[in-house]
């Protein structure tokens, strides 16, 4: 599994373009999927949906309908991307960012189009998001995904329905719908993480198993990568609202504000979770050290009680010769000598136990009810 992470990390950094190459050089990743293209051209009256085999088909559709949405899945075919770039007049630097799939989410304005990068969370498998790139112009939307994903299917479904809002409005509303679908996918992931955190918290309080720090470390990684996906996107969407690009109509601003609102909410949840995970480590360390202290205390108390007893036994095991002096260990020759010695030992042990009990050191020996993290929540006055 550590191999898996290394792969991800390596991928994060790999710049496939040789250092010093002119900017805008397009080199596809060796493990990129082959590209497939789907186009939907629509307006209030009509909708045409096509699986594209030859980009000439795209050229044909372009300009014929109010909105043309071209969806590319798989980034393996560099030539196809270059061709698309030419058809829609995309800037080479933006195209380079589409292929190098380690971009931070961002919204970059170019004179003819707006370029948006987001991260798509795939709930089914792993939390780390894949790159989702989107171009929006006057009459087109281009989307680029690394792998096939079902998140956009409901949008396609709505496009097919006659009177839907998305059919009546332009490419800006389509852009919003797509972003909204991507953002909505974060909520179940957050819910899952939240549950993991709570389970971990319960585990920490009840058993503090030794793999907790590694688990916490892992959750921190997850939250950090989510954070790195959400925060820059939030900033980018905010920028779009504050000074909008011509490709975003004033009507669509309200909808982008809704997007922004969701992103703020998600960012908020992530921060709360990070905070909570951070204090989990503290809770864990405190629980472990308390448990350890308990063990050591019990063990040490046992030793401490027996050591004086052993001393007494040692004393009466000495070989002083009673024959040479009546002062030498007369106890050994008393009638009640042995019972007296046993009683002495018993008495010492009892006295020590009483002393320990008085000081409250024996409390930990009773495995009382575990502290309940939630029960503690009851206000004292309740």
């Amino acid at each position: 599994m550590s191999k898996h992470r290394k792969r991800k990390r390596g991928k994060r950094f790999k710049r496939r373009v040789p250092a010093g190459a002119p900017p805008g050089t397009l080199v596809s990743a060796p493990d990129a999927s082959p590209s497939t293209v789907r186009a939907v051209a629509y307006g209030p009256e009509q909708v045409v949906e096509k699986q594209i085999a030859d980009l000439a088909q795209v050229l044909e559709l372009k300009g014929k309908h109010p909105v043309l949405w071209v969806d590319v899945v798989g980034l393996g075919d560099v030539k196809l991307l270059e061709r698309l770039g030419e058809i829609f007049g995309l800037h080479r630097l933006a195209l380079e960012d589409v292929i190098n799939t380690h971009q931070r989410p961002k919204a970059e304005e170019y004179p003819e189009h707006l370029f948006i990068v987001a991260r798509e969370v795939l709930a089914r498998e792993s939390i780390l998001a894949e790159q989702f790139s989107l171009f929006v112009g006057r009459d087109f939307v281009l989307t680029f995904q690394e792998h096939q994903d079902d998140a956009l299917n409901p949008i396609r479904e709505r496009l097919r329905q006659g009177g839907s809002l998305v059919r009546r409005l332009g490419p800006d509303y389509l852009t919003y719908s797509i972003l909204d679908a991507l953002i909505d996918a974060y909520f179940p992931v957050l819910e899952m993480l939240g549950e993991q955190i709570e389970n971990l918290e319960i585990e920490v309080v009840e058993k503090s198993p030794p793999d907790v720090p590694a688990h916490i470390q892992h959750l921190k990684h997850e939250l950090l990568s989510l954070r790195r996906a959400v925060w820059p996107l939030r900033e980018a969407v905010n920028k779009l609202i504050r000074d909008p690009h011509p490709a975003i109509g004033t009507e669509a601003r309200l909808y982008f504000r809704d997007c922004y609102d969701h992103l703020v909410q998600i960012a908020d949840f992530i921060e709360t979770d990070r905070d909570q995970v951070g204090s989990l480590m503290e809770l864990y360390l405190s629980a472990v050290s308390q448990r350890m202290n308990e063990v050591m205390k019990v063990l040490t108390i046992i030793s401490t009680i027996f050591i004086p007893l052993s001393f007494i036994a040692g004393v009466y095991g000495m070989n002083f010769s009673h024959d040479d002096s009546p002062l030498n260990m007369p106890e050994l020759y008393w009638y009640w000598g042995y019972p007296f010695a046993l009683l002495l030992m018993f008495g010492v042990a009892a006295a020590m136990l009483y002393f320990f009990w008085r000081r409250g050191w024996l409390i930990a020996l009773k495995p009382g009810p575990r502290p309940d993290p939630n029960g503690a929540a009851d206000p004292p006055g309740a």
Copy 2:
């Protein structure tokens, strides 16, 4: 109880609208209470109060009086909400936020109305706040609560009184009065939390019971959720003051500044409390480790004193044959042998105790007066 928290959390995230559904789709929560509607229409001269059974009654009242306040309790009746939306021209995105009760507090401007979301603290039961949504337009105020609550009753009372300020002024002043009532409800909750923190601090210093970390963790949760309720509302109110919406008259600005002031104060208290709770954990860990150290020291000192004594006893328990050599343990055959051995042991023990006492290690054995966290406050020179 942990079940209760899971419910809340789950609720936090549950988006009842299926992912990919068109924005503005209204789906009520399965556990939402049925909706009841109350309307108060008033002006300086007149006040009409009605329990609404049919929304036609609302239409009748609308526009007849300077201010119409419609108060909806329970969000279970989606149709009713949609109808209200049509009557007052509310935006669907805002209506969606009314139903999805996990919104952050915010103030959103729409062309025809202002939409405010706040969180209502219910002191009687739990700290986590329910969502309170409010629309304010030219001549109306709409409020949406999850459950029936008495916080607004004093305002209704004042509306019924003839010459009151709220009767003379418009919907902006009513909005302020409602927000003020919601915000005022935070103070007793903060007071309760403050008392809990202080009790916990006293407990930490005096007894450091093992459930302190869980209690601290819980208080952190509470403060965090309060913070998440107060901070965004503060920002929203501040925004309203800085560039006010047409629905907020310039006269009402002074009053909203008062609201803002209270929110700053509350935020301030929350931060102070968070700070204090944070350093409580430190205090607790230090107290626990000190207590543990004391125990270990006492036990180890007992062992350390008896181990050399046992050694002496062990030496005189050896079986070297005095018969074979006068050098073999002549002490065993002395007249004062046994008393000498006992004195030797006593002397060793006394010497060690003296040594420990000189080094100050026996101080902890005397259970002296507990350190008083407040007594320590006296300036040394006082």
Copy 3:
């Protein structure tokens, strides 16, 4: 003493106005002192000083002199305050803040007057500051104190002297003089706190008594409450300098900048002290754990040396029968057996001590000179 703190806290939150009451409702604190009023009316030529029994006297003085200063001590008489509010045209919301003495320091602009809240530090008794409220208008200054205090006496003295600056200038300069006097009172308090911190630091390094964490916690509280008194006031004064209210002449700006400068300095000292107190806890924990480690090491070394010796004694205490076999413990029957055994024990102890000494574990046994926190400051090369 913990009672005392609870009282303060409680006071902090108590909003005497019943929740939901119309804003601006004046309800005095049950423990508020009765109000006494003193007025000073002055100009470059003349000064009139009066103890006011009836507010009609104030009305008489108003408008007759360039500046009228009314000083109210004790906030128990609500009617008197309401009357004053009417006379000077004070806003009800501001008056409410005067009575609810848990306000953050602030400067609020009203059309006719400027309302400033500060916190007065009373060096003689406790650090927590009382509320000091001040209204300044075209030709008047109103001040409200909770209890009688001598901090303003020097200003009164200067007002009585003919040619003093304060006599020549307007209410803005009087406001500055009063603020300056309040701020100057923070310096001796900071000095006292600084001394406490240093004494505590010396104590930590030298003895680390167990009440240090509670003392640190207390100092943190003090610094926090000072911080909460100083920071908002700094912001408020800064706001007054940046865009001044008509009641503050341009001439007086230089003086308010001096105020601001002092507040920045105080805030700076507080931050430094907070930083220092924060690292004191670290220092303390390190000192305690080191001291504990020393103790445990000494005790464990003693045990460790004696355990092998006891083992040797145990071996020669075994009862193997030499009669049945010449191999059974022949040492017991040697001529030099007992001296040999003693020597063996001595040798083992010496070898272990040497081993421990070589590893540097005996160093802690010599109570060498204590580390000097200041001596360490000498640069190594000095």
Copy 4:
């Protein structure tokens, strides 16, 4: 190796100019390499490349071609630098910064030219970057490197190719190309650091060797120095984009935005790595303390089991005289006495082991499967 670091640090601070000397005094570092100069003059049609022996050659090239790039390697020849400064009209303060190679990255505007300082990462040897200074004017670019480096060779190669973008555009695009090459060199270094961090994390979880804290400390140093190289450069590039200097054409802005984007990405990775390294220390301390606790527990359990057994043996080693009383240790004279004693010991040991096992204290004795930091990532429900 610590010597190496000291050298670097010393270098960081050494200001070779005697304190109080007039500003702009040029004094070369004693260990600076001798200077070699290379010039490339080019335009869309032509390119001239020369190794410069005499600066007169530079004067000849100046103004003859659209762009003149002079590349100086080695900062040992102060006279040459002064001469270049005169030829291109460079400000003395900027020249001083070229020689004092401890500058923070920055972009300084002068009326006639723009002065950029960056830090060049040399992947081959050490992470700490050397200073790279660059002047860009209307028709020239001057670069100053401390040592020969191959990072700029690909740019020279592209300059030699006829139709390349860099040939067609001006000195601003050349500046961008150079900065881009410098920035690209950070990625492999970050990848290397990322791998080190991951290896360290695996090591911490699996073995927690004692050199981890030193390693972590070292990684922190590295990341800190990278941070100090990247953050100011990011700010400088951002400033260039926001209000560009006349030497940077509007066309080139898009390219500088790309630079900025990369720097934001690098800064992001560095922060993530710092975060991760920070929590590694926590993880390490937790792992070490757990490991230690395990050891102590096992050892203490062994002691605790044997101490009561030794006590029993001690009891039956006592010498109470059976001859003088039938009560004195009759067990010693039983037929089954010895087997009974052994069974008693065995029973006590078994009871204690059972007690320890019931409390879960023996779990640590089984060296079970190590916690897997990644395995822990699997969602509980998976």
Copy 5:
């Protein structure tokens, strides 16, 4: 030495002006040095240098030359300062700040002059800086130092030289030169601190002596006081650059930017050092605890090995009567009994050692090569 610090602290706060005194009251410190005055009047052609005994001499020089620099050393003579204030038209609030030498660095604009406060670092003795005050007007510069210092001598030297830049330019350039000299004095101090930190780090890793926390605490104090000297000055210089006072010509702006640059660099170094010192404490605690753990482990292992051996010896020291039963300790009467017992003990010890070795607990017993904090820097792949 702690006395020395107390003195400094006390000085920091002492406001010699009685609380409530009118602002601008000048009261000299009781330990202030007597004042001596030196004047240099110069222009491009001429330079006049005079030791001033009577301020009439200053009046004579004033206005006769383009620049008049009056340098006052020692702040004991209040009358002289008041006189100077009258001659040059200095504001009383600024003069008060000159005498109260606990000002934060700042730049205050007055209509007729600019007032700058900086802190002068004296490398020879202690790090804490003395106050350096400077007034700059149209044709004069006034400087006030607490004690005689040589830092400004090189500037005087340059003034005496005919063609130097400082002679040709105005009081703004002289101001820059003085500030530059003050700032340059920080670099050797930073170098010294950096060396101390590195030595401390080496010490921590190698020996972790117990005075490290106190040393770290002291370094934190030093860095904090440096920080408090540098940061506000940086802000002040930045303010001078952004909107310059009429006393600062546009030409001099470039030079002040150079000052700012140096201050940013110094602030940067201080932050890095603070960061490093902060993590030193962590490193130290980890080293100490590791060292302690090692000691405890070794000691505990020794005990643990001998306790079972002692038990065996105890068993064979029991006095079960073989005469009464053949089952009672027959081993004691075997021919090979004693060798068997010794072998058994040896075997148990060997088995335990093997068990401990297998678990890796004996590694710490070999004092292997110390971890090298720098060696660890080598990339694993190197």
